[in-house]
């Protein structure tokens, strides 16, 4: 693949998980192409496998993955999660985990050093961190708190987007970033996402609701159901889903459910 404006792509991606003696296929052949400056949304009902897809793309060890994953012209599907991250892939978690005893500042400094491949001098790091905290309207007292430990849902999401901003990824996956946010927090987080996604990088928002899409306008919207993309359209699609729901897409979809072979 040598289209230089493609920041992220996957080809014929299948994801399965071992459940006792049974292998369950959760993602059943997905093709996606995200170009520089594009914002994509992947929408779908609960339980459709959206979060599985996101975690598998980031390299979660629980999943068996086949197909190709490309990041900025390089195949990454054999790489460990930390190698994908260092090459510029980022995932904002739906439920960021707490790491007690590890301060936000220490964590951010380690993550930044890993992404850039060099240690960042303390003063320079402080400056960058302070700027990011101001942008996300977060109190500086967070820097000495333990990572996500005792954070509210909204605080966790702000910190996710703050990391996205600081790590300057080539391609970002946002998994249900709007869940658990009140309207004020949603506005702040959305502003952060818009700041962090420039003309050089790409974005894929995985979401159940169209709410966040009012603030971060997608260029391309995919509907993901039962392990497949069943419809791809423009920014008008979320509105349609909002009024009509998801079910009609299955009936009208040429792709079908995947089980109907």
């Amino acid at each position: 693949m040598n289209h230089s404006d493609i920041v992220f792509a996957c080809r014929d991606l299948h994801v399965s998980v071992q459940d006792k003696d049974e292998t369950k296929e959760l993602v059943k052949g997905v093709d996606l192409t995200v170009r520089k400056g594009e914002k994509h949304a992947l929408m779908g009902p609960n339980g459709s496998g959206k979060s599985t897809l996101a975690a598998a793309l980031m390299g979660h060890p629980s999943y068996e993955v086949s197909g190709e994953i490309w990041l900025a012209g390089e195949r990454i599907d054999e790489l460990e999660p930390h190698e994908r991250a260092r090459k510029g892939m980022f995932m904002s978690f739906q439920y960021p985990v707490a790491v007690p005893g590890v301060s936000v500042a220490n964590f951010l400094r380690a993550a930044l050093a890993a992404r850039r491949g060099v240690e960042i001098p303390v003063r320079e790091f402080r400056k960058e961190m302070d700027a990011a905290f101001a942008e996300l309207d977060m109190d500086r007292s967070f820097i000495s708190r333990y990572l996500n430990d005792g954070f509210s849902g909204g605080e966790k999401k702000r910190l996710e987007i703050l990391q996205m901003r600081m790590l300057n990824p080539v391609f970002s996956l946002l998994d249900e970033t709007d869940s658990g946010l009140d309207i004020d927090a949603l506005k702040v987080v959305s502003a952060g996402i818009n700041l962090a996604s420039g003309p050089e990088n790409g974005l894929l928002m995985v979401t159940h609701y169209q709410r966040i899409l009012d603030y971060v306008k997608p260029d391309i919207v995919h509907v993901f159901m039962e392990g497949q993309i069943v419809r791809t359209g423009g920014s008008e699609l979320p509105r349609e889903l909002e009024t009509k729901g998801y079910e009609w897409l299955l009936e009208s979809s040429a792709v079908g459910t995947g089980d109907a072979s």
Binding site: M58, P61, P81, H82, A85, M91, V97, V99, A110
Partner: protein
């Protein structure tokens, strides 16, 4: 290969850093085994008063008669071969007050362990024990002028027999358990500290215990008395060479914090994994006194140690903050005992353990509130972290509360280094080893932040070695 298999064993560089040994060139080495002759010899050589000589002999009989503890790890305890241990080794003639007077190879050993350097940088006094005797001792002049007594226990008995006799074996009676009896029979070395009324010693005093010989038994005896309104921070560290056969370390430590006094006793135990570490530690906290045991157990084959505080006076406060690290072949059976024997006393126990490979750690704790001890508060927190499929952790908490108006909180948690935590950190660019190290360092942070900086750095370094894939 799974991630946990990639992690190196505990103290990967132990052999190089601590596990070396010097040639044995000793002033006096008792033959193996314990009997009344050996006890008599120890007492005679030390020129002790009659009451101590008698106490030793009685203690030996109690040791013979007492059964092995039935808790902890009976299987490992049964491996101790009491006849294959040297109970007394005197490495040199006279104790030195100057490092230059310490025999070359012993001095080199302590140099390698960084003791003289630490002494200059941040300690108020040092005793360095090698086998059975303290070979070097110092105390800062200003502390000496304030009347602070800090010396090895043998000198304490010689120079301050009235204080020693008043407290020795009064906090921990000889019969307390088999190993307190053995210590009382065979004790040698350890620290004696007395802090006069109102004197605040704001710089730590340290003792370092080193075993060098194979099949060594080290039985140091420590007594610390903090007089009314005084304060003291005492730190001990210990290491030994790695041998294929076992050594035994069995200390008795007694603390007395008189009215309004404050004692903090910090231990970083890093014995080699052929050392049985069976230690009895107990403190009396009088009215308004505070006693804190900060207890780190990283090394040894089997540790059985439950630092205790008897809160004897009203409003006394006791804390036990401990961390245990059990790697391959190790069992850390540690915990705390808190006896609320007076009204309005408060206590806190925080116990953290990390078990990896087939390592095993146990928390064994007792909180007791006696009848009449109204208005007490106690809080117990146990946190266990398991790394790998075969690691084991057990919790044996006992609460014995005889009053109603008491606030008792107990929390116990066991967690695995969660895949989700690892994945989260990895998704931020940290490789698996780094991520795991960060999680473990975070886990022990509440303990580490209580240590003086230099020790915190050393402990973090030890843990990092533990977590790293390999060490050059």
């Amino acid at each position: 290969m799974s991630a946990s298999q990639k992690i190196a064993g505990i103290n990967e560089d132990y052999t190089e850093k601590y596990g070396f040994h010097d040639p044995e060139d000793y002033f006096l080495k008792a033959p193996k085994g314990i009997n009344h002759e050996v006890v008599e010899m120890i007492s005679r050589k030390k020129n002790e008063p009659e009451w101590m000589r008698e106490m030793r002999h009685q203690a030996l009989d109690i040791f013979f008669e007492k059964p092995m503890p039935t808790w902890g790890n009976s299987e490992l305890l049964a491996e101790i071969d009491f006849d294959n241990i040297h109970y007394y080794i005197k490495p040199m003639g006279e104790q030195a007050r100057d490092w230059d007077d310490v025999p070359e190879n012993i001095k080199k050993t302590f140099d390698r362990l960084g003791i003289p350097e630490a002494e200059q940088k941040f300690l108020g006094g040092v005793t360095a024990q090698y086998e059975s005797e303290v070979v070097y001792h110092s105390i800062r002049e200003d502390l000496e002028k304030l009347g602070v007594l800090f010396m090895d226990m043998d000198s304490g008995l010689r120079e301050h027999p009235e204080i020693v006799r008043k407290f020795f074996a009064k906090i921990i009676p000889t019969r307390d358990n088999k190993f307190s009896a053995l210590n009382t029979a065979a004790w040698s070395g350890g620290s004696f500290i007395y802090v006069p009324k109102g004197v605040k010693v704001d710089i730590p005093l340290q003792a370092y215990f080193r075993i060098n010989a194979e099949n060594m038994g080290q039985f140091e005896r420590t007594l610390i008395i903090a007089d009314e309104g005084s304060s003291i921070h005492y730190i001990e560290g210990c290491t030994a060479p790695t041998y294929s056969s076992d050594s035994l370390h069995s200390a008795v430590v007694e603390l007395v914090a008189l009215k309004g006094a404050h004692i903090r006793y910090t231990t970083i135990q890093n014995w080699s994994t052929n050392v049985f570490n069976l230690v009895t530690k107990r403190a009396h906290a009088h009215e308004d006194a505070v006693v804190e045991w900060v207890d780190g157990n990283i090394g040894s084959k089997l540790t059985m140690k439950y630092p205790a505080i008897v809160l004897k006076g009203e409003r006394a406060h006791g804390e036990v903050l401990s961390i245990a690290f059990a790697g391959h072949g190790q069992h850390q059976d540690a915990g705390a005992k808190m006896i609320h024997a007076a009204a309005n006393t408060t206590s806190r126990i925080v116990s953290k353990s990390i078990s990896k490979d087939d390592g095993r750690s146990s928390y064994r704790g007792l909180v007791k509130v006696v009848r009449g001890a109204h208005g007490c508060k106690t809080n117990v927190e146990c946190d266990a972290l398991l790394i790998g499929q075969h690691a084991r952790s057990d919790t044996y908490p006992t609460m014995d509360v005889a009053e109603d108006d008491v606030r008792v909180e107990h929390e116990a948690r066991v967690s695995k280094v969660a895949e989700e935590q690892l994945f989260y950190l990895q998704s931020r660019g940290l490789d698996q080893d780094k991520a795991r190290m960060m999680i473990v360092n975070g886990f022990i942070e509440p303990f580490v932040k209580e240590l003086p900086m230099e020790y915190a750095v050393e402990l973090n370094r030890l843990i990092e070695l533990e977590m790293e894939g390999s060490v050059g």
